[in-house]
């Protein structure tokens, strides 16, 4: 136990450096802008249909806070309910332990190929790589994940992992890797190619692996929300189903789902409801997998729970709304964050799961923001992301030691970043660039607008402060 936490990618540069590189990639920026602009507008529309949206958000926040307050009770209750219905519950302290449990379960079924439905938890623990090392081939079945997997690439968005690829690139990847090549680069033909490629896999798979969007403590029911039907295939066809979920994914009662099944689809895919939601409880004789394993994953969550300010990140339902409104994300893309959790949520969750502010890359993530607050406004469970960012910045400074000139500059920067008003005042006065320029490490922090406009790789950003620019543009464009 106790290796490094794979939630961040080994060897990733700190955010500033990675962002700098991403900004040079105009294709990436164009794809991202198109995608995030589209989804922002759609989301605003379906949210405006709900007169009680703010009340739903507050209920969602309260339910999740209740889960965190009584996490031990609810976990034990879930375990009892799942076990009573014929499921087997496993507990994993960290990524390594979870991966070993899953690998052993697969080996026990005597197979070396499994189908997988997209799951943040399994991406977080690096399950595919661990299975590969153990001689098991895990096939991603979401279209986007398949694009990423076949392109030997990394996901860049929680919900649309291949948001950085356009149709021509996808056609090229599929043509290279599939025996039946796509007929054209029309999305319809690309989807058809994926359907054919995966269908054989679904029909023959013995074991499937999934994550969980929610688990109901009272009843032991697990919920998976999806669009393509690959989730249903994985959850229905194979004999054995292994579900890996973070311990915070609980809701206490079945009734609580009425809140989240309204908040999640509208916030994530900007639909009134996503095409498919599957709910199952343990094993149902004669219907679906006859063996069900649930792996409950800690991997830094209990440590996050111990942080009074940071623990609210555990309310996250992974809708990705905060990514789509984030001006920094829109310009740098998901890869710059060097983690399976990109964007604003990644900036607060990944460093906490890593739990080591001496890790330069993790410590740089809380700076991947201009603190404009758009993420907090859209978050369906009201996570105050700017508040957590500021808090983590202070921790990063602390970790660097109190007396180094760098730490002093960092502390000053953190103090300025902590308050939007202060930040703008400092920027106007030019004092910001003074301490930003003091040493190389800090100089490369991209949050402040001044540095963005200085960069020749960021021509899209006009010569005004990033914050002012964003405030002016957000209304018109979203």
């Amino acid at each position: 136990m106790g290796g490094r936490n794979p939630v961040t990618w080994l060897g990733s540069p700190a955010f500033p450096k990675a962002a700098h590189e991403a900004l040079a990639n105009t294709q990436l920026r164009r794809n991202l802008r198109k995608a995030t602009t589209t989804i922002r507008a759609k989301r605003a529309e379906v949210v405006s249909e709900m007169a009680d949206w703010e009340r739903l958000r507050r209920a969602g926040e309260a339910i999740k806070d209740d889960v965190l307050a009584n996490l031990d009770t609810y976990l034990v209750r879930l375990e009892e309910a799942v076990t009573a219905r014929g499921g087997v519950v496993h507990w994993a302290r960290d990524a390594e332990e979870a991966n070993q449990i899953v690998l052993d379960l697969i080996r026990a079924e005597g197979t070396d190929e499994v189908v997988k439905v997209k799951s943040m938890a399994t991406a977080e623990i690096g399950l595919n790589e661990a299975l590969q090392a153990g001689g098991v081939n895990a096939i991603e079945t979401d279209l986007a994940e398949l694009i990423v997997q076949l392109g030997e690439d990394r996901p860049s968005h929680i919900l649309v992992p291949a948001i950085h690829r356009n149709r021509a690139e996808i056609r090229e990847i599929f043509s290279r890797r599939m025996t039946e090549k796509p007929a054209s680069d029309e999305p319809k033909d690309l989807a058809e190619a994926a359907r054919k490629y995966l269908r054989r896999k679904f029909l023959s798979a013995k074991v499937a692996i999934s994550g969980a969007n929610f688990a109901v403590a009272d009843t032991g029911s697990i919920v998976v929300v999806e669009s393509e039907g690959n989730g249903r295939m994985c959850l229905t066809l194979p004999e054995t189903l292994i579900t890996v979920m973070g311990i915070e994914k609980l809701v206490p009662t079945w009734q609580d789902l009425e809140v989240f099944l309204q908040l999640l689809p509208r916030s994530s895919t900007a639909e009134r409801m996503n095409p498919y939601t599957s709910v199952w409880t343990g094993v149902t004789p004669g219907d679906g997998p006859q063996k069900f394993h649930l792996v409950l994953l800690d991997n830094g969550r209990t440590a996050t729970l111990a942080d009074k300010v940071g623990r609210q990140a555990l309310r996250c339902i992974r809708c990705s709304a905060c990514l789509n409104v984030c001006p920094v994300y829109e310009r740098t893309g998901g890869h710059s964050y060097g983690s399976v959790y990109p964007g604003p949520i990644g900036a607060i969750l990944a460093p906490q799961l890593v739990g080591d502010m001496h890790d330069k890359q993790a410590a740089s993530l809380p700076y991947a923001s201009s603190l404009c607050g758009a993420c907090f406004e859209v978050c369906p469970v009201r996570i105050n992301i700017p508040e957590v960012l500021t808090h983590l910045r202070a921790e990063a400074v602390e970790a660097k030691g109190k007396r180094t000139p760098e730490a002093l500059a960092m502390a000053a920067a953190a103090w300025v970043f902590a308050d939007p008003k202060r930040y703008e005042a400092a920027q106007k006065a030019g004092s910001l660039s003074r301490f930003l320029a003091r040493d190389g490490w800090i100089k490369r922090i991209p949050g402040p607008g001044a540095k963005w406009t200085d960069s020749r790789n960021a021509p899209a950003v006009p010569k005004e402060s990033f914050r002012t620019w964003w405030r002016r543009n957000r209304v018109e464009r979203s």
């Binding site: 198109k34 209920a59 496993h90 992992p161 999305p187 393509e228 679906g288």
Partner: protein
């Protein structure tokens, strides 16, 4: 070695946690609609599913029409589906004894009922209960024709969940399978049935 279970639980218990906040459910648990069936019709159609409003007496003829339009010859039905659905001119495969996967992969479609439908979100919920069968029969065939009765339709998500039993295998269906993974262009039809047709009865 203390077990992972004990260690995780004790880590949680070691944390100084705040008291549970009260959960205020002042959101709208029930909503009214002037014409709930019209709302369902509109919202299901919005997902590019095909929707028809029919009377009880018309159901068999409309099933026959829908299947004929698709030239569906071999069609699956749950064993307990009403006899009147099994119109002539079609080879009906009853899922009793359970059909093999390879057989399901060859049929032209499936006809089922549902447990609940949610008008506001255009969602049909199956719970493997009456006239719905195992989950697999509405998944593998490429065409799903679903018969929704007026008394099964509610307006909001909370009303639907209140009617459902959590421990049954549930599938919430909102339109045909879809993806927006390529440049956020929506494509209907990936792995689940690529065509969803709904008869709203009443």
């Amino acid at each position: 070695m203390s077990s992972a279970r004990e260690e995780i639980l004790s880590r949680i218990r070691a944390v100084d946690r705040p008291a549970s906040p009260p959960v205020v459910r002042d959101y709208e648990r029930e909503r009214s609609a002037s014409d709930v069936l019209a709302l369902l019709d509109e919202r299901v159609a919005d997902y590019k599913a095909i929707v028809h409003r029919v009377s009880e007496a018309e159901v068999p003829d409309r099933i026959a029409e829908c299947l004929a339009r698709r030239s569906a010859k071999t069609v699956v039905v749950p064993a307990d589906a009403p006899d009147s659905w099994r119109v002539s001119g079609v080879e009906w495969k009853s899922d009793d004894p359970p059909l093999a996967l390879s057989e399901l992969d060859r049929v032209d479609g499936v006809v089922t009922g549902c447990a609940v439908a949610i008008a506001e979100t255009g969602t049909i919920v199956l719970d493997s209960g009456a006239a719905q069968g195992r989950r697999i029969i509405t998944l593998v065939p490429d065409y799903h024709l679903c018969v929704v009765r007026a008394d099964q339709v509610v307006v909001s998500v909370p009303e639907a969940l209140a009617r459902l039993e959590a421990t049954r295998p549930l599938t919430f269906i909102s339109g045909p399978s879809a993806t927006s993974d390529i440049e956020l262009d929506r494509v209907e039809g990936v792995h689940g049935p690529r065509t969803l047709e709904v008869l709203i009865v009443g």
